[in-house]
Amino acid sequence: MARQATIDALRKRGITKKSAELLADAGFTLETLEKVKVDRLKKFVSAKEADRLVKRISPGKPEPAKKSARAAKRPRAGAPEAPAKEEAEEETPTIPEKIAKPTALEQAILEAMHEVGRIIPMKVVRELAKKLGDLKVSKKNLKDIISRIADRYETHMIDPNESAGILSAQSIGEPGTQMTMRTFHYAGVAEMNVTLGLPRLIEIVDARRVPSTPIMELYLRRVAGEKEAAHAQGRTRAITIAREIETTHLEDVADIEVDMVNMQVVVKPDDHRMKVRGMEPKDLEEKLKKVQQMAAPKKTEGGPEKETSPLVIETGEPSFKKLHKLVEQVRQLKIKGIDGISRAVVQERGDQWVIFTEGSNLAEILEHPEIDPTQTMTNSIQEIYEVLGVEAARNSIIKEASETLREQGLTVDIRHIMLVADMMTNDGDVKAIGRHGISGRKSSVLARAAFEITAHHLLMAAITGEVDALDGVAENVIVGQPVTLGTGAVNLVYRPQGEKGS
């Protein structure tokens, strides 16, 4: 984390990413760099770069205010007073308005709320406005409603010292026994398989890098001005895009044969398959030409199939090893599509055409000009984290987990899932529930030892002289004292009547 802060700070000062990383890896921080001599820096970077570095970092130049590394990680929020020049270098992204403006009725409710002096959550305000609709309600009644709602809201609040974590963990874990293990067809798309039930839930809490069945849902960008006609065209448009993004390897559209005698690879394009994938023989040649260290493919005349003439690639030198390598290379040659997306199917949903893909690549899909980025969805939480950040990842965890549970017909309050998601994303990246994630990083030695890999934690605690402050549940249970949750969190002192206070 500190390393990242240093890199960010250095890059702000116009130092190349490479050297910034180098320096940060060497353990420098901004402060140490300010004092450091050119000679020392030269050990790490080129002499020229070192000189430049010293110039740029030399103290005196205002350092953007940052309290923690975390703040620096988000330059947008962290450095409002940074010089305008630096701002100009980077295109300032506009933060989209996330909260819809309150309607007139909602505004009225909010005002009344302030007059009453009570607080009710915005969600309830919205709901209330919807329920009131066009009903005529006097100001007095409105205030009455608000204070009654506030009364109820307050009684519905969770009690202080409630062990919210255990509550949530049980609420999500308990229905686990009722879930299925099988993968089922995706709702509405017979062609696609997707992991559901318990395995999917485990996958989510494990924060796996790649889900076992990555899937994307893509919508077309709406074309302005078109309506009825657009729908009919939508399908063809969607199919074209689907074909375009689908990864196609050479072996998908052509038969590849090895000619041992002449030490060459013969590629025989299959017309039918080419057509299904929307390709022309021409494209193939183009692509093949680009294959590195490969002799330009030759066209041989009059192959057995007359439709498309086979292409021949020669190894150049007579080596079986090389030939073998070449065959593999040719087979796996990607001729089009987006990496990771192995299949794309078009489906109709409502009045829109949706492309479902097997495999996921959020970063590249978002840049596709014809796909609506605001409706694009992937079930890969890690990808969402990498492309859109933690907050998005957190929302994605909530969405995926609650959908998995709902699909199984189990009702679990969304607040429980939120807590799990917030715990997983609490310190800026997605952490797994388990020994490699949250449990392995608990502050208590005893709690970690009680969970998994007992001996290791105890041994390491001894040499680092760790102190267990006995704050948590597991460690207090171990030493045999009341835990700090619920009724154990409070102390009651009773002074018998008649006894004088000291």
Binding site: G27, K131, H156, A450, T484
Partner: protein
């Protein structure tokens, strides 16, 4: 112990450290030299492994160190002086890191002063930013890596050699073996400041201490020997291992002192290393585990701590307890939901400590005088006393003989262990304890017979049935615990689940069936029946009969049910018997599935699972929420009694003839299935001819499978529909399925119609023989029968091939369940472990133990899910009804909303309201 009462002492923190040889010798009570344990007379040898300075395990003997007897003496450590130093296995990785990162000559860290300072600074930074131990470790790992890379010492200029580790414990420096002694000498030179850069705290852990020169011998209480029946002693695994260490240690010392050849000494040294290694961890990779004579691997230190059966999880995180009981459970519909029936035998053993005070001393004396097996004059159970604990902590067992004498000695300040009485609060639990409702507080009812008994409505939260399930019971031992249990853990406090904010306690099985029989359409009961049903409620007097036919008086079932409803209850919802998709009120009325309760009177609708069932009961939900847990408890108690009464009057049975369907229906089904099989055949032919239209993104084979599955599942549905047509609402099995009591329409159609396609992994069966499932079919047959379609019904019986296929599907189900329980169990353990420390603070933030904010408001609005209205923070409609109840525009909207929530339209509503009026007019007329 007595003086401790009321004083709350807390351990504030525990610090971990490495023991230095000096400390080991200091805390050791005796040196251990002799490898033998006991002499012929059975007394421990001095300076032996069972030396009586190390504690006592035999009753009667006294500890030579502290003078305590068994249970008084906690045991004391001893030590073994090792002839030659050996490596501690747990630290080999650390040692390697240290050797690589420090100079072989001067012992300094192979980093420049600046580099070291930088790393130190970074570590501080990480700590300041709230980084945990793992994050600090990342930095130290980084610094060690950097130091290892350096070829030449920046301090003395010495060329560094490459250190390798031969697992598990041999270090080599460019092939040359480093003895532990040499390693130790090197590490002694490393200065304290350099260690800190590597993440080692030198004040508590000098690296040379990782090479052992003295071995701590644990107290005998830690490794007690057991005397077998034959009189032979059987030593603990640790003792065995220590014997090995001592023997080799002795031989090594002798050989070394005698100046034996280097080779022999080294061999012995290695052997000593092996024994010490396995003493710590007998599962070290790379060496064979030390075994017992019988061939069983020894359980040494690490094995004692590790894993599910290890000290941490088995003895520290959970413990065996006294004052608990376990037995089989059985139902008792007459108990309240918050009661538990406890057998007399258990009640005699389980006790509650009672502090003798001024106000109760006479009563207590009376109890004691009764003796431990007390009975009333009528021979019924009454509570006696098992033990009297005097003010000095001595326990006196009360027997029939000494009862009177003991009673006289009782004084204020004594504690008396009284047997259970009705009304004592106990905890009741069934494993697996997946949620907090798995352990609830009940009130005791001491009863004859030997099982625990409770109300059937409490089965769902415990997930209990009575096919041999056992449950545990714990008697609370302190006033605080009882208060807590009474306020927080009682059954009625758990009617609403925190998982989804709905009821988890409610009617099951026969309750639901009974509710249906009682309230469906115009079920009516004569005087005798009504009296019987109402007697179950303990009611005296009958309400006014609704129907009079000549001399005969009849009460409607709806009228009887209304008796248990609060008088001001208003509720309307759709019954679970409502056919799918039916929204028209007229149709709903026809099947009597629109429940309307006005002012505590059930006007229309059938009471079933949606009204009183566990998980779904709308009435239970409403009562628990708006009338309080006590009211809900009473309602469930009453309603279950009432319903059991009702079903006893009505009678209810189901049998195989419930699945009888007429011949022509059977024929229809057979025809239907034939058509389906034909269709599949056509599909297969089309596939073989290559005429099947391929689905995008699917192979031809897959397309065929998908299509065939579609056809066959449709066929099963149709056969179910045909069968269903002939099974009306008078059919017991249908009543159970539709009302939600037990079973489903799918179960029924499988019994009466056709079982359908069997699947493994969601696909038609395909494995077994080469290209076919069974030798009864042709190779490559892709038809319906050959791939696991079962066209018979359970009632008609299965063909042998079908039976085989059905077991294939069944086996998958079994495997699935087995795998699922272990997988979901582990997931829950991880979830609990990750979230256990989170709590809601007074400012509504959710924080962990490090005081890091996880959520600013629990669930973004701070609402307790068990208090939420199906997830919503506030029931706005209810508030609006309260405030705007009289406004005409709202009134209109309300009725409309009520209807629309069942999918009714405005037009239907007019009909509905007219009907309601008409009915009301009619009813009084019929009464007369």
């Amino acid at each position: 112990m007595m003086s401790m009462r009321g004083v709350t002492k807390r351990i504030r923190a525990i610090k971990f450290a490495l023991l230095s040889p000096d400390e080991i010798r200091k805390m050791s009570q005796t040196k251990v030299i002799t490898a033998d344990t006991y002499d012929e007379d059975g007394f421990p040898y001095d300076l032996g492994l069972m030396d009586s300075h190390l504690g006592v395990i035999e009753p009667g003997l006294r500890c030579k160190t502290c003078g305590g007897k068994v249970d008084e003496c906690p045991g004391h450590f001893g030590h073994i002086d090792l002839a030659m130093p050996v490596i501690h296995v747990g630290y080999v990785k650390e040692l390697k890191k240290l050797l690589q990162a420090t100079c072989r000559k001067c012992g300094r860290l192979l980093l420049t002063r600046e580099q070291a300072a930088d790393y130190m600074k970074e570590m501080e930074n990480v700590e300041e930013l709230g980084g945990d131990a793992t994050e600090v470790q990342f930095v130290t790992r980084e610094s060690a890596k950097e130091a290892t890379k350096r070829q030449r010492c920046p301090w003395c200029g010495e060329e560094q050699k490459k250190i390798t580790l031969d697992k598990p414990t041999t270090f080599r420096e460019e092939g040359h073996k480093l003895t532990p002694k040499e390693v130790r000498e090197r590490l002694e030179k490393v200065p304290n400041d350099d260690l800190r850069v590597l993440g080692i705290e030198p004040d508590v852990a000098r690296p040379e201490w990782m090479i052992l020169t003295a071995l701590l011998v644990p107290p005998v209480t830690v490794r007690p020997s057991i005397t077998l029946e034959s009189g032979d002693r059987s030593e603990d695994d640790l003792t065995h291992k220590l014997v090995d260490v001592l023997r080799i240690n002795q031989r090594l010392r002798e050989n070394r002192d005698a100046g034996a050849p280097q080779l022999i000494v080294e061999d012995l040294w290695e052997l000593l290393q092996y024994h010490v290694t396995t003493y710590f961890d007998n599962q070290t990779s790379g060496i064979p585990p030390a075994r017992h004579r019988s061939g069983r691997p020894l359980k040494t230190l690490v094995q004692r701590l590790k894993g599910k059966e290890g000290r941490f999880r088995s003895n520290l995180s959970g413990k065996r307890v006294n004052f608990s009981a376990r037995t089989v459970i059985s139902p008792d519909p007459l108990l309240s939901i918050n009661e538990v029936g406890v057998p007399v035998e258990a009640a005699r053993e389980l006790t509650v400590p009672i502090h003798v005070q001024n106000y109760n001393i006479d009563m207590v004396k009376e109890w004691i005088k009764r003796g431990p097996i007390a009975a009333s004059k009528t021979g019924d159970y009454i509570a006696g006393v098992n033990y009297v604990i005097r003010a000095d902590g001595r326990r006196i067992r009360v027997t029939d003989k000494n009862a009177d004498a003991v009673a006289e000695t009782v004084e204020i300040g004594f504690i008396v262990e009284r047997q259970l009485v009705d009304g004592d609060v106990v905890l009741f639990n069934r494993q697996p304890s997946l949620h907090r409702m798995s352990m609830m507080a009940h009130e005791v009812r001491v009863m004859p017979n030997k099982t625990f008994r409770f109300n059937l409505a409490v089965c769902p939260p415990y997930n209990a049935d009575f096919d041999g399930d056992e449950m545990n019971l714990h008697v609370l031992q302190s006033e605080e615990a009882r208060a807590e249990a009474k306020i927080l853990m009682r059954v009625q406090e758990h009617i609403l689940s925190p998982r989804f904010g709905g009821p988890v306690i409610g009617g099951i099985h026969d309750h639901i069936t009974a509710a249906f029989l009682l309230t469906h359409k115009d079920a009516r009961f004569n005087k005798v029946e009504t009296t019987f049903i109402l007697s179950r409620l303990g009611m005296s007097g009958l309400p006014k009969p609704k129907i009079k036919e000549g001399d005969l008086e009849f009460w409607t079932g709806k009228q009887i049910f209304s008796l248990v409803l609060p008088k001001d209850l208003n509720l309307s919802f759709k019954s679970s018997i409502a056919s799918k998709g039916v929204t028209n009120p007229k149709e709903l009325r026809e099947e009597d599935s629109l429940v309307i309760i006005r002012n505590g009177q059930l006007i229309t609708g059938t009471i079933d699972e949606n009204a009183v069932g566990a998980f779904k009961g709308k009435i239970v939900d409403k009562l628990a929420r708006d009338y309080g847990s006590e009211m809900a408890k009473k309602f469930i108690d009453k309603v279950t009694r009432l319903l059991i009464g009702a079903i006893m009057v009505k009678g209810f049975t189901t049998g195989i003839d419930d699945e009888d369907i007429p011949e022509e229906a059977k024929k229809q089904i057979v025809d239907q299935l034939k058509v389906a099989a034909e269709k599949v055949k056509q599909l297969v032919e089309a596939y073989k001819a290559g005429e099947l239209e391929q689905m995008p993104g699917r192979s031809l084979e897959e397309t065929l499978e998908v299509e065939a599955m579609k056809v066959l599942s449709r066929a099963r549905e149709q056969s179910g529909e045909i069968a269903g047509k002939h099974l009306g609402m008078t059919n017991s099995a249908v009543i159970m399925a539709r009302s939600g009591a037990r079973g489903s329409m799918l179960n029924l159609s499988q019994m009466a119609g056709c079982i359908g396609q069997q699947a493994v992994r969601g696909e038609r069966l395909s494995r077994g023989y080469w290209n076919r499932t069974l030798p009864h079919f042709r190779k490559g047959d892709l038809g319906a029968e050959a791939k696991g379609f079962v066209k018979s019904s359970y009632k008609s019986g299965l063909y042998p091939t079908e039976y085989f296929f059905h077991s294939m599907g069944g086996r998958e189900g079994l495997v699935d369940t087995a795998v699922r329980t272990s997988r979901s169990g582990y997931m829950q353990r991880r979830l609990i472990n990750a979230l256990e420390d989170l709590k809601v603070k007074e400012d509504h933030t959710v924080r962990n133990t490090a005081d890091t904010v996880i959520q600013f408001k629990f669930g973004e609005d701070g609402v307790d899910p068990s208090r939420s209205i199906q997830g919503d923070a506030v029931d706005i409609d209810d508030v609006l009804q309260d405030v705007l109840g009289e406004e005409p525009s709202w009134k209109e909207r309300m009725t409309f909303k009520e209807m629309t929530s069942y999918g009714l339209t405005e037009k239907d509503m007019v009909v509905e309201m007219e009907e309601e009026e008409a009915e009301e007019e009619e009813e009084p007329a019929g009464e007369e």
